[in-house]
């Protein structure tokens, strides 16, 4: 293999390129990115950058010399526009064509939008700088969607002195991901600070001066942030012959077609640890999968299934939320340390007979490490979780 192309120059693409070099690949290595910027980190966009604590330079994922040391054919500011599997070529938006022997797809996701004009989204550095410059004290900000991104942005805006309204269609924010009881703890953090969180509020349209709800009500705002999830960037693969569903469809090795792999937010693959197809939009995951895809591409005779324990964190107000595993679709939640009511706890999640997730707020790191191990080894729920801790939380219930 003498020509490898990585499409996508963010966390997953960079990790793939670095891993290829680290594993001794010395052929040509093209890294394509649609943004005109060297690889940068996205989690701080809704945290330190939005808060004005960090300047954009701080987000660079690697020092200039480290990127230069990879000896890349770096194509920044140009999107990939097509893939010809039979010819093994990638077409770029500037009209050029790049041939490959091996290909890694890491084109990420883009924000879902709403009908109507205007409204911010928060995915790129440009997005974040534009919103940051508008968040001055007293500004009325409506955040559509109280998922992790919306909640983080709401928390930052509140701290900056904005008047924040957070609109969420579900009865309890994030309940589908973390369970009703934990979702209620996260909800309280907004309410305690005077953020106007309205659940059951579906936004149908962004208007010139706010948003319109499904019941016709208009909510006024100076600025609107739309944080209602993402769409995998797979449009450019239409007609390529690659299977595209919820992202690029891959097997457990992250392979989508012979010598074509995918990694990061855009990659749907089968995670044998949980026995489930997944697509994960977490920062740490992007790097891990980029590394795994690169290794499997480079070492076809020693491929390993990609079976990670996903990890994410979220900073909201004074809370640091950390979670391991796969929480969605869980059957049961138990609080094994701390107290939900105190906002300091460790909750574990069951799916089937196994421990499949753990989420903590405000507990020391060693507490959760043990549970990560339980998830990684597929520990049996009955054996691992003391029964007295299970009374607090039943699936979908609100008994806590």
């Amino acid at each position: 293999m003498r020509r490898i192309v990585v499409v996508g120059a963010s966390a997953a693409g960079l990790a793939a390129a670095e891993t290829l070099r680290r594993e001794g690949y010395d052929g040509s290595l093209t890294l394509v990115g649609d943004e005109p910027l060297a690889p940068y980190d996205r989690p701080p966009l809704s945290k330190q950058l939005l808060a004005g604590e960090w300047e954009p330079e701080r987000l660079a994922l690697r020092a200039h010399d480290d990127v230069a040391g990879l000896d890349l054919d770096l194509r920044l500011g140009v999107a990939a526009s097509g893939l010809q599997l039979a010819d093994r070529t990638v077409e770029l938006a500037d009209g050029s064509t790049v041939p490959y022997d091996g290909l890694i797809l890491a084109t990420g996701v883009r924000p879902r939008r709403l009908p109507g004009a205007g409204g911010h989204v928060l995915r790129t550095l440009d997005d974040a700088v534009r919103l940051r410059d508008r968040l001055t004290p007293g500004k009325r900000l409506v955040v559509v969607g109280a998922g992790f991104l919306g909640a983080e942005a709401a928390a930052v805006a509140w701290r900056l002195g904005c008047e924040v309204t957070l609109l969420e269609p579900a009865p309890v924010p994030l309940a589908h991901a973390v369970g009703t009881e934990v979702g209620e703890v996260l909800t309280r953090a907004h309410l305690d600070r005077g953020v106007d969180l309205r659940c059951g509020a579906t936004v149908t349209e962004v208007t010139g001066d706010g948003v319109r709800l499904a019941d016709g009500e208009l909510v006024d705002a100076d600025e609107v942030l739309i944080a209602i999830g993402s769409v995998p960037n797979t449009d450019w693969l239409a007609g390529s012959g690659l299977a595209v569903g919820d992202g690029v469809v891959c097997d457990e090795y992250c392979e989508a077609a012979r010598n074509v792999y995918a990694a990061g937010d855009v990659a749907g693959w089968y995670n044998p640890l949980f026995g489930l197809p997944m697509r994960v939009e977490h920062r740490t995951h992007a790097a891990e999968q980029g590394m795994a895809a690169a290794r499997n591409l480079l070492h076809p005779d020693a491929r390993k299934p990609f079976a990670p324990v996903p990890y994410f964190w979220s900073d909201q107000y004074d809370m640091k939320i950390q979670a391991y595993g796969y929480l969605r679709g869980h059957d049961e939640v138990a609080v094994v340390e701390g107290e939900l009511a105190e906002g300091r706890f460790l909750a574990v999640y069951r799916r089937g007979e196994k421990v499949t997730g753990a989420l903590t707020v405000g507990m020391p790191p060693k507490a959760i490490r043990r549970w990560r191990q339980a998830i990684a080894t597929g520990a049996d729920w009955e054996a691992a979780v003391p029964s007295r801790s299970r009374v607090e939380a039943a699936p979908g219930g609100a008994t806590a």
């Binding site: 740490t284 891990e288 990890y311 020391p364 790191p365």
Partner: protein, 64 residues
């Protein structure tokens, strides 16, 4: 080889400890601590893994 850690960038994920537990630890808030600035050769693969996996890009391994 020398390990550099920018602790004020650290997001307390603990991924470095999972990758190289002889070189990194975490304090009670989860912030990474560098145990060994110049780790022995057998730990370098783990450190490289930590550099690659750190979600805050807070770790560097530099020639000196």
């Amino acid at each position: 080889m020398k390990v550099e850690l920018e602790a004020d960038k650290c997001v307390a994920s603990g991924q470095c400890v999972l990758a190289a537990m002889d070189v990194f630890d975490q304090d009670d808030d989860g912030i990474a601590i560098l145990l060994d600035e110049q780790p022995a050769a057998e730990h370098l693969d783990g450190v490289r893994e930590a550099v690659a996996i750190c979600p805050a890009a807070a770790i560097r391994l530099v020639d000196q």
